[in-house]
């Protein structure tokens, strides 16, 4: 990172340890989350300060002026930002993830030399444009098209919900490129924002992350040189899926930060608030809420660390990043909801900041792969034997680990039975697939917790893993009723009159 200077002598975790207090100081000093939310704008001064701190360059290689942090290290930084303000965390996280990852991994040397230094300094902010009005989770349905002409690649189409779009200097765009790598080909294309033919829509009026820029971007004959195609021409969808694994992991890390913020706020409130002659935090029901929130946040952190370690080891994180995304986005929302509940009526007021956290994290269950779709995808993976994991832990927790392994065996047995009974038709049984996925995710999170448990964290790890095991068993129980539920839902909705 720019300020603490990554040096060869310092191990990355130590650098991040030095950096996190600086990030916390920056967020406390320069970021007024309530004002950003109220005005729907991150002030340019905040972007500039983030740039001076090196936040925009944290995952860009040192050769181009960045700090070259790993996914795991960047996740810790994004989480620290999100603890205070999610709009700023998403601006930086999107830039470091979806925004620049394609260029870093797939750009040609000339393109990287031209753009990465200014992206690392924050002089240029990056954006990623894939979604369209009729192409959300179904990326194959995109219509934006790039056609090779004598002047370069001419782009026509409209992208929706483009994060950072209002002030981005560079877009990574997923477009159909018939003729580049086949008639069905898609490619990822780097498009500078000042290219003639780009029209930005107005800023969207959103429920949360109101300071984050979200616009429609229209490409009306924007032409870029053919060398602006990232990676292999025609392999755009494949590249996009890969980049999404980074984006989802950084976004999951942001959810960890939001959950920590909501947990801290709840703990402070229940310690100070007195009812019936006692601090609210002394009541058993309150303690149960706080313990659940702490356990869930702990598990979310373990899940993100686990994905980052897999990535660092060179393994594919396609299914694991999807599982983490679902687990962390759902978890953050529930932690915020419980925090708001513990604040009582005060939580419903904006002044506590908890209402904002709840609004801010709602979108994470939708973007970068809607959870409903990811669950079906993970469930289908379970049927094919994917998502397997080892359970390793200290001897003190071996009893929990044994039960976890037993639950995983049950899950695999159920999945095999379903696959044998239905064959590929199983793909149509979405409710069952989602429940299989929910069970697997809970078990995977429990395994991540157990693997990281030692010393003082043992009681927390035990409690957290026990809760997750119960959740997994509950989803496996509900698997029995999945087909009944789906059939009943079909019958009910078919009978409903058209709205």
């Amino acid at each position: 990172m720019a300020a603490p200077d990554l040096t060869a002598e310092q191990a990355e975790p130590e650098v991040v340890d030095l950096l996190l207090p600086e990030v916390a100081r920056f967020m406390a000093r320069d970021v007024d989350g309530a004002a950003i939310d109220r005005e729907g704008l991150i002030p340019p001064a905040v972007r500039e300060a983030a740039g001076r701190l090196g936040l925009f360059g944290m995952t860009i290689p040192g050769a181009y002026g960045g700090a070259g942090l790993s996914l795991g290290a960047a996740s810790r930084v994004v989480a620290e930002m999100a603890r205070v303000d999610r709009s700023v965390a998403i601006m930086v996280g999107l830039h470091c993830g979806l925004g620049t990852r394609g260029l870093v991994e797939l750009g040609n040397p000339a393109l990287k030399s031209r753009w990465l230094p200014r992206l690392a300094s924050g002089a240029t902010i990056a954006s990623f444009a894939a979604t369209e009005a009729n192409a959300g989770s179904d990326l194959m349905a995109i219509r934006t098209t790039g056609r090779a002409t004598e002047h370069g690649l001419r782009i026509e189409g409209e992208k929706s919900y483009v994060t950072n779009g209002g002030f981005a200097g560079l877009f990574t765009v997923l477009a159909r490129t018939p003729g580049l790598g086949g008639a069905r080909a898609h490619s990822l294309v780097c498009i500078p924002a000042d290219t003639p033919g780009i029209v930005l829509g107005r800023e969207e009026d959103k429920l949360g992350i109101r300071g984050s820029s979200t616009v429609t971007v229209t490409f009306d004959g924007a032409v870029v040189p053919l060398d602006h195609v990232l990676g292999t021409p025609g392999k755009g969808l494949e590249h996009a899926y890969e980049i999404l694994t980074w984006g989802r992991t950084l976004m999951s890390a942001g959810c960890v930060g939001t959950a920590r913020g909501a947990l801290d706020a709840a703990r402070a409130h229940v310690a100070a608030r007195r009812q019936f002659g006692r601090a609210v935090g002394e009541f058993g029901a309150t303690r149960a809420h706080v313990a659940w929130m702490a356990a869930r946040t702990h598990a979310m952190q373990a899940m993100v660390s686990s994905v980052a370690e897999l990535h660092a080891a060179g393994s594919s994180i396609e299914i694991e990043s999807a599982m983490a995304k679902v687990f962390c986005s759902d978890g953050a929302f529930e932690v915020c909801d419980r925090s708001l509940q513990l604040h009582g009526a005060l939580g419903f007021l904006e002044e506590t900041g908890v209402a904002r956290m709840l609004r801010d994290c709602r979108i994470t269950r939708i973007f970068e792969g809607a959870n409903d779709v990811l669950l079906v995808r993970v469930g289908a993976g379970v049927l094919g034997g994917k998502g397997t994991f080892d359970v390793r832990c200290v001897p003190e927790l071996s009893d929990v680990a044994e039960r976890l392994e037993g639950a995983e065996r049950t899950l695999r047995h159920e999945a095999r039975a379903m696959a044998e009974r239905l064959g590929v038709e199983a793909i149509r049984h979405q409710v069952a697939l989602q429940r299989l996925a929910r069970a697997l995710i809970a078990l995977r999170a429990a395994a991540a917790v157990l693997e990281r448990a030692s010393g003082e964290s043992l009681p927390t790890a035990r409690y957290t893993a026990e809760l997750l095991l119960e959740e997994a068993r509950s989803w496996l129980d509900r698997l029995w009723w999945a087909d009944r539920d789906e059939a009943a839902a079909r019958e009910m909705t078919d009978r409903m009159a058209a709205p």
């Binding site: 990326l139 194959m140 349905a141 790598g181 086949g182 008639a183 069905r184 080909a185 898609h186 025609g234 392999k235 755009g236 969808l237 494949e238 899926y241 079906v376 995808r377 289908a380 993976g381 049927l383 094919g384 034997g385 696959a419 239905l422 064959g423 590929v424 038709e425 199983a426 793909i427 149509r428």
Partner: protein, 95 residues
């Protein structure tokens, strides 16, 4: 099985598979080639590949094993898999 019948079945199952593939990819049948990889060349993720085979299974009224289906990489793989399952199941009197 007579040679002519085998060729007809091959054509039929291949035709059904490729037509459904073109439909899912929203493209013209003529652009689909046997050597194309479902994921890398056609941009289909694992779910969409299974969706394709589920549609084929419905259209041809045959059962397709999901684990084997997940191992399919190319258009030709998919067509061969469907044909072999079709012949197996029809050959054993299943419909």
């Amino acid at each position: 099985m007579k040679r002519g019948t085998m060729r007809t079945e091959r054509t039929d199952t291949r035709g059904v598979t490729i037509n459904l593939l073109a439909e899912i990819c929203e493209t013209d049948v003529s652009t689909i080639e046997g050597a194309q990889r479902l994921r890398e060349d056609l941009g289909m993720d694992s779910l969409q590949s299974l969706e394709l085979l589920s549609c084929v299974s419905e259209a041809l009224k045959i059962d397709l094993d999901i684990e084997e289906a997940m191992g399919i990489r190319t258009v030709d793989d998919a067509c061969e898999f469907v044909l072999s399952q079709y012949q197996d199941q029809r050959g054993h009197g299943r419909s």
